[in-house]
């Protein structure tokens, strides 16, 4: 039998405050054969990480491996005494965690951490281990492989840390590598580079791996077999192509459906919008941190020259990778971070840059919903009090009416009324995000700024929240500024889309223009980087140019995207800042290249851009 991993009847339990045991993994059984990659897929709470950790004989504090057997390469892992277990971990099975940024010790140099496993287990002399590490760094296409190990974790970007983690895991030539959501915390453009590096190394070395993820599209690129998990139970397992094409279990089908926002039919019909003046208009916004210089620009500018307009009842999508300034834009519009320069108007009426000098009514009309409902809701207040506060503040409602209105709001966001007396801790992630949304709705705003509202939610839950947003827009005529790193979600629900790169608006236009060529080179890269739910997608994508995301080095005098642009013009793009041009498709882009040149450059790409969403 050539199964490297053989798991039988695995049960993991937790103990709650009352001392009662509860199973979080129930009777898991699967096997992984040599040189194969198995994916454990499921939403949060499905037990996928718990199973992955049990393969190393490890259970998080508060959890206990209750029953079953785990055999890795013939060793019964669960029967190993502590000392033998420590010898086993990091030598025969290695682990790549979700957030490399958190899993690297901040006070030790990278190389010391990468070779630590090898030196603990006495696998090879330090010098040999370092040489091998450098070789792996090179194989994983890390910059400056010879010297990157001398840095500290904070001196390296997130995507690079994730690859360094892979080098750490592969250094001891383990029988099994466990990758736990290794690309989830990364931007799509970074994710694709990391995935490519992982896949290459895994294939070249013939590594047996278990890939834990919630993202089917990513799994489709790397896994040979898929195990679908839900609430600690295996729903179905099978070869990747079979699962993707012919899922047998209803839950797998729902995962497949939720993974592709273009499959959802958002109603587009009544998006004529209001012909009058825009609800919110911004002109040449400049914002950032630090004291303003002589020209009124802040010392550390985050946004430069941003203009936008949102019509009543319409949705503007703002897309970009982390650090591009999209959350800052929401904070500027809300007045939390006063703009250094530029003008904001609400219904034609000037808005003061800072929230403190806006009128209460202006404050009421623009509400913000933050990314993490966990931290945005006061844990010491009941839902009723959280929702009652804006009712009291903006509408001066008496206790009786307030109670009624709280019930209405809960109905509006499709939450059961009895949740009113609960505390945020007692709610699930999706429920918290709905409360968060209800809190914004309580003010009866004209515009809601949604900052990555679905990013921390599971795909299925996130899809439900998106549908709710769309319904509310139709019923209440509220407008949204929908901020996301996920272009496919934005294309599915927004009327207008704006792409930010390094604090500049590189492309903007009606949503259908985002799937029409020519595109701004960055938009093009962004679209090409969104994983598609089919095998072989990763191989079909052209590798990107340049050094990958990070601080643009040519920020001021040149085009910010110069370093990563596949269509850059030497001597122009690195010298002069580009100007906005209008394209025939009805969008504006910030680029030196003429429309025809862009079109020619992008036509080369073999893969087709997904068709626009069908209008129902």
């Amino acid at each position: 039998m050539d199964a490297v991993v053989d798991v039988r009847g695995l049960c993991v339990s937790t103990r709650d405050e009352q001392g009662a045991d509860r199973l979080i993994v129930k009777e898991a059984e699967f096997a992984v054969s040599r040189n194969a990659v198995l994916a454990l897929i499921g939403e949060s709470g499905s037990g996928k990480t718990t199973i992955a950790m049990a393969l190393m004989g490890y259970a998080r504090p508060g959890c206990r491996i209750a029953a079953g057997s785990v055999r890795v390469g013939g060793t019964d892992v669960l029967a190993l005494p502590p000392r033998a277990l420590a010898d086993f971990r990091g030598k025969r099975v290695t682990y790549i965690p979700q957030s490399a940024a958190a899993a690297f010790n901040p006070s030790r140099r990278i190389m010391a951490q990468v070779v630590e496993g090898a030196s603990i287990h006495g696998l090879m002399p330090r010098a040999a281990a370092e040489a091998k590490a450098v070789e792996l760094f090179r194989a994983l296409s890390l910059p400056e492989p010879g010297s990157i190990g001398r840095r500290f974790p904070h001196q390296v970007s997130g995507g690079q840390l994730q690859r360094l983690m892979a080098a750490m895991a592969l250094l001891s030539d383990p029988e099994l590598v466990i990758l736990d959501e290794p690309t989830t915390a990364l931007d799509v453009t970074t994710q694709i580079e990391v995935l490519r590096a992982f896949k290459k190394v895994v294939r070249e070395r013939g590594t047996t791996a278990i890939y834990v993820s919630h993202d089917l599209a990513v799994v489709a690129q790397v896994a040979d077999r898929i195990v679908v998990l839900r609430d600690g139970e295996i729903q179905e397992q099978g070869a990747t192509d079979r699962i993707l094409v012919a899922p047998q279990h209803a839950y797998t089908s729902s995962l497949l459906q939720a993974a592709d926002p273009t499959l959802r039919s958002f109603r587009q019909a009544d998006r004529r919008g209001d012909p009058g003046p825009p609800l919110l208009e911004a002109r040449d916004l400049v914002a950032g941190y630090g004291p303003a210089g002589a020209d009124g620009r802040p010392a550390a500018p985050v946004l430069t020259g941003i203009s936008l307009a949102i019509r009543r009842g319409s949705v503007l999508g703002v897309v970009g990778e982390s650090g591009c300034g999209k959350s800052t834009l929401a904070r500027v519009v809300a007045g939390l971070l006063p703009a250094a320069r530029g003008r904001l108007t609400l219904d034609g009426e000037a808005l003061a840059p800072g929230a403190a000098s806006r009128t209460r009514d202006q404050l009421r009309r623009i509400q913000i919903v933050f990314q993490t409902a966990d931290t945005a809701l006061n844990p010491a207040r009941t839902v009723a009090r959280i929702l009652g506060r804006p009712l009291d503040l903006y509408h001066g409602m008496a206790a009786d009416r307030r109670r009624r209105r709280v019930r209405e709001l809960l109905d509006m966001v499709r939450l059961p009324r009895h949740l009113a007396e609960r505390y945020p801790d007692e709610l699930s992630g999706g429920q918290k995000q709905r409360v968060n949304l209800a809190r914004a709705l309580a003010a009866e705003p004209d515009l809601i700024l949604c900052d990555e509202v679905t990013s921390s939610l599971d795909t299925v839950v996130g899809a439900a929240v998106l549908e709710l947003l769309d319904e509310l827009r139709r019923e209440l005529g509220v407008a949204y500024m929908f901020i996301s790193h996920d272009l496919s979600t934005v294309r599915a629900i927004c009327d207008e889309v704006m792409i930010l790169y390094a604090g500049r608006k590189v492309e903007s236009g009606p949503r259908q223009t985002m799937s029409m060529r020519p595109l701004h080179p960055y938009t093009d890269l962004l679209i090409a980087s969104v994983p598609e739910l089919r095998m072989g997608w990763l191989e079909s994508v052209r590798p990107a140019v340049g050094e990958g995301p990070g601080k643009p080095r040519y920020a001021d005098a040149a085009c910010a995207f110069y370093g990563r642009c596949g269509l850059r013009l030497e001597g122009t793009c690195d010298r002069r800042a580009p100007e906005t041009q209008r394209l025939a498709k009805g969008a504006e882009i910030l680029c030196h290249r003429a429309e025809q040149e862009l079109l020619a450059g992008q036509a080369e790409r073999s893969r087709t851009i997904s068709a626009p969403v069908t209008v129902t």
Binding site: M53, M56, Y58, R60, R83, A86, D87, F88, R89, G90, K91, T94, Y95, P97, S99, A102, A103, F104, N105, P106, S107, R108, E116, G117, I120, H121, R151, F152, H154, Q155, M168
Partner: protein, 318 residues
Amino acid sequence: MNAVMARLIGARVAVCVLSLLIVSGLVFIATSLLPGDVTQEILGQSATPEAVEGLRRALNLDRPAPVRYLEWLGGLLTGDPGISLVNRLPVAEMIASRLPNSLLLAGMAAAFCVPAALFLGITSAIWRGSAYDRVVNTATVTTVSVPEFLVATLAVLIFAVHLRWLPAMSYASKIESVGQLLRSFALPVATLSCVVMAQMTRMTRAALLTVLDTPYIEMAVLKGARPMRVVLLHALPNAVGPIANAVAFSLSYLVGGAIIVEIIFSYPGIARLMVDAVATRDMPLVQACAMIFSAAYLVLVLVADLCAILSNPRLRYR
């Protein structure tokens, strides 16, 4: 060392100096507000107003307070904290005769407490939730809740009066051998430790637990590192800042807060000197003692801050 760190450290030192200046003002004001007057203490209840007035003039107490403050501050800066109003000896001399005793007591207590507290804190963090951890926790809470005069009195009653194992009084001056030194200091050091160690142990444990819950510690475990290695190599370097702060707070208590211990064990230290000076309204002496305590506290906190800054690689390497 880079520019950012130099700036940070410079700022800390500057804040420290400024704090000390403010403290000097507060000490001066506070001592002026104390009820009673040194002239009445010296001359007694039956002194005539003329005699009191004469003495006030002779002691320069009739001049306006701001002038006296500036003179005193100038004296401090040049190393001369003035002359005792009661026995006309230079304050510097009086303090010089007592300060070494206090430092010796504090040093002995620290030499015992810091390693012991760190050991208890670290081990109870490693075995979190175990019987050992619970015993350490209960013991530290208990000792920190019992007032030190009670601990000291009980210790004297048991070990000195009933068992006659140890001397009830400590005189630093009569010590000739190490054994004698230990015997003579055993009770005061033990009493001080009761108060100080509990705090340090608990803070060390808490700081370490915060670090032990981080993903990089889990990663170290999954790399196959043994518990000792995980704690000493991975966790401890990241807990240096908070632990140094806890130690500094506790040690500052040893310098200035040993009053009760010094009195119960009739120990000729600086805290007792200050208490006596308050009783006789000998303001220059009170002020000088207060400044020494404040300075010691600020220096300790500054050292802890520096430890935290220097142990942070984000600041060390940009």
